[in-house]
């Protein structure tokens, strides 16, 4: 029995089953009805793989160390669990920074293992193996610092403003080229171990430099990209350790992050190469000084409530502003009141609304808005001409009609929600200051547009108050 447990076949079969469970986990994620089954599959695969590995440790491990090893592994598993539980219980509004932080943790693990392998194996390393090892550590290192930077920006402990300077892309590419050059030298001469810390240091530096020019609006792309890098570094680690389960998990994570980055970059009309080379965040400086004060129409909560009550179809367009103001629960109350009056209420979700892919969906689901009312951009854009009121809450650039008409606009060509086609547009906004990207929105000056100035949460709750009073 013990022979069978210890045999390479046993652990290989466990890993095979775990790989299948991981793929099923992702397959079941395609619909909310089966998604929780997907988690179960993922957890089972994980428990199997870890259990199998621990068993094998007992069989393969060096006897004189076994007790110490088990003790320390279990202590580490315990500490990891203690850190993981609070990370799993964060507020839904903090999910983007939590996700960035977990990319950093994952890449940290990969980088540490890669470093240990490097020092254990040099100088007897085959060229291909050394190349993969360097790949693992460079990707891992840049993901660690890049993700920490992203998390810091999202948590607002670091300045959110993009920091750009002339020749930034050139400097970044040069830095990366140095790291790759060192990797090349190590492949050629594995005994040059003194260069290894330099390479890791440069990878860490590159991660910081990659995220410095990123502003909040680009975060969805960057988080997806870092997700992809974290996956690829794990796959590289799988090659180094000859562990196929790791290769599978890394490839799945890498392709997931890659697909999300492509979706995000398309939704912002940026080419994919633009994203790969970290050349995003380069919003042309807004035409400063062109801020002539054009007239806008504004309305009070009472007026807004009346207009909403008279509508038969309402589309709500949420954006990052809704998340910042924590307005999602009030928005849900509004949704309930309007639905009760027989008004058709839908939510229009732009792919890059918020700070990570799917951010708005999670916040609205948290507030108990049924998910079949959350519509993707392509599904709802045709509905706007039949919409009586579009209510925009904390979104800006994703509703900017200049993206369709004004060739000089920095966001020209970006797919946007056609809110201006609805009969009335209401925009909840703090003030007339242009949004994050500093781009003026012609929507606000249109005839059918009413500006609702104020804090998103306070304004929506005032509308809710009006509606419930008038209903009697």
């Amino acid at each position: 029995m013990i022979d069978f447990l210890g045999s390479q076949n046993f652990i290989a079969i466990i890993y095979l089953v775990a790989s299948a469970l991981f793929i099923l986990a992702l397959k079941w994620m395609n619909s909310p009805a089966t998604a929780r089954r997907g988690i179960f599959a993922g957890e089972s695969g994980m428990v199997l793989a870890i259990g199998g590995t621990l068993l094998q440790l007992g069989v393969d491990g060096k006897l004189q160390h076994l007790a110490i090893d088990y003790t320390w592994v279990f202590i580490a598993l315990g500490i990891g669990t203690a850190i993981g539980i609070p990370l799993g219980l964060v507020q839904m509004t903090a999910v983007p920074q939590r996700t960035a932080l977990s990319h950093a943790f994952g890449a940290f693990c990969v980088t540490l293992v890669g470093t240990a392998e490097f020092y254990l194996r040099t100088p007897n390393v085959q060229p291909f193996m050394m190349a993969v090892l360097c790949c693992e550590v460079i990707l891992g290192g840049l993901t660690v610092t890049g993700s920490l930077m992203a998390a810091g920006k999202l948590q607002e402990v670091l300045p959110q403003r993009p920091i750009t300077y002339k020749g930034q892309n050139f400097v970044n590419l040069a830095v990366l080229a140095i790291a790759i050059g060192i990797a090349g030298y190590l492949v050629h001469d594995p005994s040059a171990t003194h260069l290894y810390p330099v390479m890791v240091g440069i990878a860490l530096l590159f991660g910081v430099m990659l995220v410095i020019p990123i502003g909040g609006a680009d975060m969805p792309t960057v988080i997806s990209l870092l997700n992809s890098y974290a996956g690829l570094s794990a796959a590289a680690m799988g090659f180094v350790l000859g562990n196929k389960l790791l290769i599978v998990a890394g490839a799945l994570d890498g392709s997931s992050g890659f697909i999300l980055s492509v979706i995000m970059s398309k939704a912002m009309n940026r080419s994919f190469t633009n994203v790969v080379f970290g050349a995003f965040g380069q919003v042309a400086p807004a035409a400063a000084g062109a801020q002539e004060s054009r007239p806008v129409k504004s309305a009070s909560p009472e007026e807004a409530a009346e207009i909403l009550a008279a509508a038969s179809k309402v589309v709500i367009v949420p954006g990052y502003g809704m998340a910042v103001a924590q307005a999602q629960h009030k928005v849900r109350e509004l949704y309930d009141l309007l639905t009760k009056r027989g008004i058709d209420v839908q939510f229009a979700i732009h792919p890059v609304a918020g700070r990570m892919p799917g951010h708005m969906n999670v916040l609205l689901a948290e507030a108990d808005v049924p998910y079949d009312h959350l519509k993707e951009m392509d599904d709802i854009n045709g509905d706007f001409p039949q919409t009586d009121v579009s209510l925009i809450i904390g979104a800006n650039d994703v509703t900017n009609p200049a993206a369709k008409t004004d060739k000089s606009s920095p966001i020209y060509g970006m797919p946007v929600l056609d809110v201006e086609r609805s009969h009335t547009v209401m925009v909840i906004k703090r003030s007339m200051n242009p949004g994050f990207a500093g781009i003026d929105n012609p929507l606000y000056y249109m005839d059918q547009t009413l500006m609702l100035f104020g804090d998103a949460k306070a304004f929506v709750s005032n509308i809710v108050k009006e509606l419930s009073n008038s209903h009697g």
Partner: protein
Amino acid sequence: MGSSLIDGLFVFMLAGFIGFEVIKRISPLLHTPLMSITNALDAIAVVGAIVLVGRHESRLSFILGILAVIAATSNIVGGFLITDRMLRMFKSSRPAKS
């Protein structure tokens, strides 16, 4: 070792294609939970770290391995926990809702 690397490349390629096809089908509705679950699955790197600790080849590798186990475990636990919390929130209006 040559053949095991080639095997690895085959696995990587196939898993990459499967990932592409499977993930393409996932509704944007669930993109945030998707990212948190792939994060948890990715933390399977923990098995590599456990093996590293078990090999006990040098003090450095032992310490790095322990730290790696901690980092990966926190991703596993946190990732599954938050994905589950998110998915529990997604409700359809079709089952009668008061």
